[in-house]
């Protein structure tokens, strides 16, 4: 009985807090900004809506173009395989790509971080897809994203390791400026993502922005409503969301023209030594 009463009190308090946040958000969204605040609003909007479409288009066009350049190039003049030959070259190339046995053998600690990072990255993509309307990997009423913030941590920690590793010789000696820039881009992208998926639940009243709020934003994007996301993403964490989205857009635009293109080239390049 006492426990039930306690739960009722918590629920009531939570509901009250939620209502307070909603009221504050509603009030905030109804404020008419002028001057510098108006400029910031405009920039936020451009980042959160039109630039999302532009960056995704750039990503797709870039990848298609890069693949087309490879496919239009003449084939190598002779086979490049290594021996002993694999019985099933295709399977061996897939194994090389997804299990990275070479790294496991020669750099086991690096391999552990690489595997955590890549598996978590796939989960990260799934987690973002889960926000889309009509995609339900988690129960629709779940306030958490896939992994409840754990996925974000699982990409962030390896990235810190990759950065630290690259600062030491011999990796430092073979690195170029863009290697560090890419790592920093991803690191900050993930850190702001962590704020969205995890950190924003640390407020005294629970989630500032929940998965349902992000779902409304994604729904608007998917339906091309061009609505201002400020109306559906409440609270002061909105600017973190804007920065997260901006970094994601930079990542999308850069991906086809950077070494991250290995995402798409790993299987064909591994086929060369197996075929």
């Amino acid at each position: 009985m006492a426990a039930q009463a306690g739960a009722d009190v918590v629920t009531a308090a939570s509901a009250a807090a939620g209502a307070a946040v909603a009221d504050a958000t509603s009030a905030a969204s109804q404020v008419v900004h002028t001057g510098f605040a108006l400029v910031v609003d405009r920039i936020d909007y451009i980042i959160m809506v039109p630039l999302v479409y532009v960056s995704i288009l750039a990503l797709l066009a870039g990848i298609i173009w890069r693949i087309a350049v490879i496919m239009r190039s003449p084939p190598p003049p002779y086979p490049l395989r290594l021996y002993p030959a694999a019985r099933r070259p295709g399977l061996a190339a897939l194994g090389d790509t997804f299990a990275m046995p070479q790294v496991r053998k020669h750099k086991p600690l690096f391999w552990v971080f690489l595997m955590i990072y890549h598996v978590a990255f796939v989960l990260l993509i799934l987690g973002h897809l889960d926000i889309l309307p009509h995609v339900s990997l988690l129960p629709p009423d779940s306030r958490h994203m896939l992994g409840a913030g754990g996925v974000g941590i699982a990409v962030t920690l390896p990235l810190i390791y990759f950065l630290m590793r690259r600062l030491r010789s011999p990796q430092r000696d073979i690195s170029v400026f863009s290697d560090y820039l890419l790592l920093l881009l991803l690191l900050f992208l993930f850190l702001f993502g962590d704020m969205m998926s995890w950190g924003n639940s640390w407020s005294p009243h629970g989630f500032v922005m929940s998965k349902q709020d992000f779902a409304k934003y994604f729904d608007d994007l998917a339906r091309f409503t061009f609505a201002d996301p400020r109306a559906v993403l409440p609270g002061s964490h909105y600017h973190f969301a804007v920065i997260h989205v901006l970094l994601a857009e930079v990542f999308f635009i850069v991906l086809p023209f950077s070494k991250i293109i290995h995402t798409f080239f790993s299987v064909p390049v591994n086929m060369l030594r197996r075929r």
Binding site: M71, L82, F177, S178, P268, V269, L272
Partner: protein, 414 residues
């Protein structure tokens, strides 16, 4: 460097941008897993002696001339222009790489640094900065082929003069002991210039009752070391044409890794089979056509897998099969087979001399040889044999270095 030269080099670079090359140049994450793969780095830990360090020289030129990044933000990838200073870096990269492809077994993408170095070597030829000794050797090789009609009688006579030495190893052969370019033979054996590459092989094939004949051409392909693909094709083509003219079923390549890989994989296709000579020996043993004395060797034997025959040619277990018939006292080098350390003499380095670099960059190889505690090290490649002999002497290892074919010929049961 003049603008016209730069333009010419850009075109040379462009001509080598096939799909595999683009994949190799675009995919590297500079993760550094390949760093410890190179014997040169393991012996002299400097970034320029890593696979990625060498490839980066070419990759930075690639970015400068063929990538958007190089045009709008060259500082991102630290691009390199094609000038004299860069050509020095290119030369350093190209001629410190033996093309052993051990780094490919480490790389999570399997990037072929030897292939990337083919751009480096092509650029050096275009800039007239290639090692002139290799150019001379390649040109001599081409010229010798062109003038073969004039040298054929003297060559045939010189071969007949080897009869006594061949009979000393296998006395039961008919007459002549060696035929040169005989039509109707099953096997065309392509040797090197020295008689050491003919006498043991002739004795073994005679002992096996093989219907074989000797090519008038040398198997060695200096143009492959040089990175001149046109001359490489010319040198390989005449062996191809000879084999077709003689209607042989097989071409057996002397113990020379590069000659074998060039003939089997880098030229062709051929209407005949190409085998490394050690494969032929293994087959004779399997078929019971030759027998070997198992007590002919004094001391522990070890085997060095030549890169171009083993990990790049697929001939890995055949030498071990042959050795199993030679001795029970055999020990493997560690690592071995596809992961064996390169001897450090490939890619034309032995031909170029480069004694100081070869010895320093192959310290790890000498340590590997020493750790085996073997008395004899055998191999199936001319370059490797020369390099192992030099290492043995330089590091005072006290081993005997032998061709596998010689050990087999000496152990033939008569």
């Amino acid at each position: 460097m003049e603008a016209a030269t730069t333009q010419k080099l850009e075109q040379l670079f462009q001509a080598r941008l096939h799909s595999a090359m683009r994949l190799y140049l675009d995919s590297c994450a500079r993760c550094g897993v390949c760093v410890e793969a190179c014997h040169a780095y393991a012996s002299m830990p400097q970034a320029r002696y890593t696979a990625v360090g060498r490839a980066e020289v070419i990759r930075r030129i690639f970015k400068k001339y063929f990538k958007l990044e190089g045009k709008i933000a060259p500082w991102l990838g630290e691009v390199l222009p094609m000038d004299d200073a860069t050509m020095d870096l290119v030369s350093d990269a190209a001629w410190s790489c033996t093309g052993c492809r051990r780094c490919m077994t480490f790389c999570p993408f399997g990037i072929d640094t030897q292939l990337i170095m083919s751009i480096a070597k092509g650029l050096l030829i275009g800039a007239d900065k290639e090692p002139k000794l290799l150019t001379m050797l390649s040109d001599m090789s081409v010229a010798k082929g062109e003038g073969i009609e004039e040298t054929r009688p003297a060559f045939t006579q010189a071969i007949q003069d080897l009869s006594a030495e061949i009979r000393a190893l296998w006395p039961y052969a008919g007459d002549p002991v060696v035929t040169v370019e005989a039509e109707g033979a099953d096997v065309l054996y392509v040797a090197l210039a020295g008689k050491h590459s003919i006498i043991p092989a002739a004795a073994i094939m005679n002992a096996a009752g093989e219907r074989w004949t000797l090519s008038v051409y040398e198997a060695v392909n200096f143009a492959a070391f040089l990175g001149d693909s046109k001359k490489m094709q010319v040198i390989a083509r005449r062996i191809h044409d000879e084999a077709v003219r003689l209607k042989v079923k097989e071409v057996a390549i002397v113990e020379c890794g590069t000659a074998f890989r060039v003939m089997k994989y880098m030229t062709g296709p051929h209407p005949f089979k190409v085998v490394a000579f050690v494969e032929l020996i293994s087959r004779y043993l399997r078929e019971g056509r030759i027998r070997l004395r198992k007590d002919s060797l004094k001391g522990t034997l070890t085997y060095h897998d030549p890169c171009q025959i083993a990990r790049n040619g697929g001939v890995i277990e055949e030498p071990r099969h042959v050795i199993g018939h030679l001795t029970a006292d055999f020990v493997e080098l560690r690592p071995n087979r596809a992961e064996n350390w390169c001897c450090g003499g490939g890619g034309g380095l032995v031909a170029l001399g480069e004694q100081d670099f070869r010895m320093k960059s192959s310290k790890v190889k000498a340590e590997q040889m020493k750790a085996s505690q073997a008395a004899i090290i055998t191999t199936a490649c001319e370059n490797c044999h020369s390099q192992l002999t030099d290492l043995n002497q330089h590091y005072g290892l006290g081993m005997k270095v032998e061709f596998l074919s010689k050990l087999v010929a000496d152990a033939l049961v008569k």
